[in-house]
């Protein structure tokens, strides 16, 4: 077993490396663009106007309510087929991109991530203490400034643990990309299994790489969480000596 593991790691290291790079790429793009897209969705979601709320509600409902693999197949085989049937599209310069599975994959992951994150952000926005928002209004802040200076910083603080969780969830979701021919880490492992018929060794190798990625993700996100909660630390320091003084 151990020699087989070494055999897999040394002979197919380039496949695993390529898979690792693609996985990281898919993860980074989905999280960054998913988060950017999630912000307006979350703001619309907390609107008091029903018709403003309805659009993000429908979007989130559809993307959270269906399996990711079904969305991926819909996008890649469904939309892909429809696009390919447009007259003359296959001779158009955009066809190089439209035939590439990469963009369909990214789009699906971005939309899916956005749906989950928008819902997390909605929860965050709604949990910002009302008093703080009222105070901001009382100071004469416009709604935009209130969002920028009060609601968003508080929201990130509140949602960060859930957000971290969702990033890790997205990392694992990228493994579905191999079903539409994108050879990310899981795809690479499957390819190795096909070549060597050594399922344990190949999937253990891929699994360990996922664990390493998750280790660095949690480590980095913990650091950001500390930064986001820096005000609590300051408050703690302020109240600390005062209490000590009181007991003396």
């Amino acid at each position: 077993m151990f020699e087989d593991l070494i055999y897999v790691l040394t002979k197919y290291d380039s496949w695993l490396w390529q898979g690792f790079l693609l996985t990281i790429q898919l993860l980074a793009v989905s999280v960054v663009f998913g988060s950017i897209l999630a912000i307006p969705l979350a703001i619309a979601r907390v609107s008091k106007l029903v018709w403003v709320q309805a659009v993000p509600f429908a979007f989130i409902y559809v993307f959270r309510g269906t399996p990711l693999i079904a969305q991926l197949f819909m996008m890649y085989y469904g939309c892909g087929q429809l696009i390919s049937n447009i007259d003359g599209i296959q001779d158009h310069w955009t066809w190089t991109y439209l035939r590439d599975p990469y963009w369909y994959c990214l789009l699906t992951f971005v939309l899916n991530t956005a749906a989950y994150m928008a819902e997390i952000m909605r929860g965050g926005i709604q949990n910002v203490p009302n008093g703080e928002i009222e105070a901001a209004r009382a100071c004469g802040m416009t709604p935009f400034t209130t969002y920028r200076r009060i609601i968003f910083p508080r929201m990130w603080q509140i949602i960060w643990p859930a957000y971290t969780n969702d990033v890790i969830f997205t990392l694992k979701a990228t493994s579905l990309a191999s079903t539409v021919t994108m050879m990310e880490l899981t795809g690479a492992a499957r390819k190795i299994v096909a070549r060597t018929a050594l399922p344990y060794e190949a999937f253990i190798s891929a699994g360990v790489i996922y664990l390493i990625i998750v280790y660095f993700l949690t480590f980095g996100f913990k650091g950001i969480e500390k930064y986001l909660r820096r005000n609590e630390r300051r408050e703690g320091q302020k109240s600390g000596p005062a209490k000590a003084g009181g007991t003396v």
């Binding site: 499957r190 390819k191 399922p199």
Partner: protein, 265 residues
């Protein structure tokens, strides 16, 4: 003393029972097939497994006088499932290769079908000529292939400048071929001959000669079994030889492929 006899008798009965259990171990065999590789194995509209492999497996069991159950299993997990004893044999057009032999054993080969490229009518690809690779024949081309197959290994090892797309099923590769996302697909001619004739394959044709180099595609497809089940291997090989001798194999061959002889040697 009497107790001692009792123990001895019990032991003797135990041995006899386990001996009979061993010889009867293969009265029932569970066989796995993929169910997504028409016309070799597929699921019909009523949900039943059909195809050459399925007919062959049924006849094989009949010939060997064993009771069989045929189950469908995804291609990627078909070897791990065998090792995990979810079933006892694989009859799913699995090519016999050295690397697969690292973990499982095979019966004698039971069919061989040459490979062929399929693409838009009028196109032409020559990747294999006069017993050798045509270097650079696929440069810049996007070729779809089912992953975990000898065809995919053949493309990856010999055509570094081609873009190889790996599909989980051949059906999906064909879908993308008609969508224009890949330029051609490489697969068993036995699978593709039917597709080219069908409505879905209108406008597409064989764009290369058929070829089956032994060094890449192996000696043919075998029935996969666990290494320790040598007695089952004997049973399967014997039944296969009997089917070839009495013509029942050829009947099934003709039913699915009029043009291709699946057991030429």
């Amino acid at each position: 003393m009497k107790n001692w006899i009792k123990v001895a008798t019990a032991a003797a009965v135990g041995v006899a029972l386990s001996a009979s259990a061993a010889s009867a171990a293969w009265e029932k065999v569970v066989i796995a097939t993929e169910g997504a590789y028409p016309p070799f194995n597929y699921v019909d509209k009523d949900g039943n497994l059909q195809g050459f492999d399925v007919d062959f497996a049924k006849k094989l069991c009949e010939t060997a006088k064993i009771e069989c159950e045929i189950v469908a299993q995804d291609w990627d997990g078909i070897i791990p499932g065998l090792l995990a004893k979810k079933y006892d044999a694989i009859i799913a057009q699995m090519s016999i290769t050295e690397e697969r032999k690292r973990s499982i054993d095979f019966s004698n080969y039971y069919s061989v079908t040459p490979a062929v490229f399929v693409g838009k009518e009028g196109m032409s690809l020559t990747a294999w000529k006069d017993g050798a690779i045509v270097e650079g024949a696929l440069d810049g081309k996007v070729i779809g292939v089912q992953r975990s197959t000898t065809h995919s290994a053949f493309l990856e090892d010999n055509f570094p400048n081609a873009e190889i797309r790996m599909y989980d099923t051949q059906d999906n590769a064909l879908l993308d071929l008609t969508a224009g996302r890949i330029d051609a697909t490489l697969a068993d001619s036995g699978v593709l001959v039917e597709w080219v004739k069908s409505d879905a394959g209108k406008g597409y044709a064989f764009i290369s000669d058929t070829f089956a180099p032994k060094e890449f595609f192996g000696e043919g497809t075998g029935m996969g079994i666990r290494k320790e089940d040598q007695d089952l291997k004997e049973i399967l090989n014997k039944a296969l030889a009997e089917m070839l001798a009495n013509g029942s194999y050829q009947t099934i061959n003709k039913k699915y492929f009029k043009e291709i002889n699946l057991h030429p040697n």
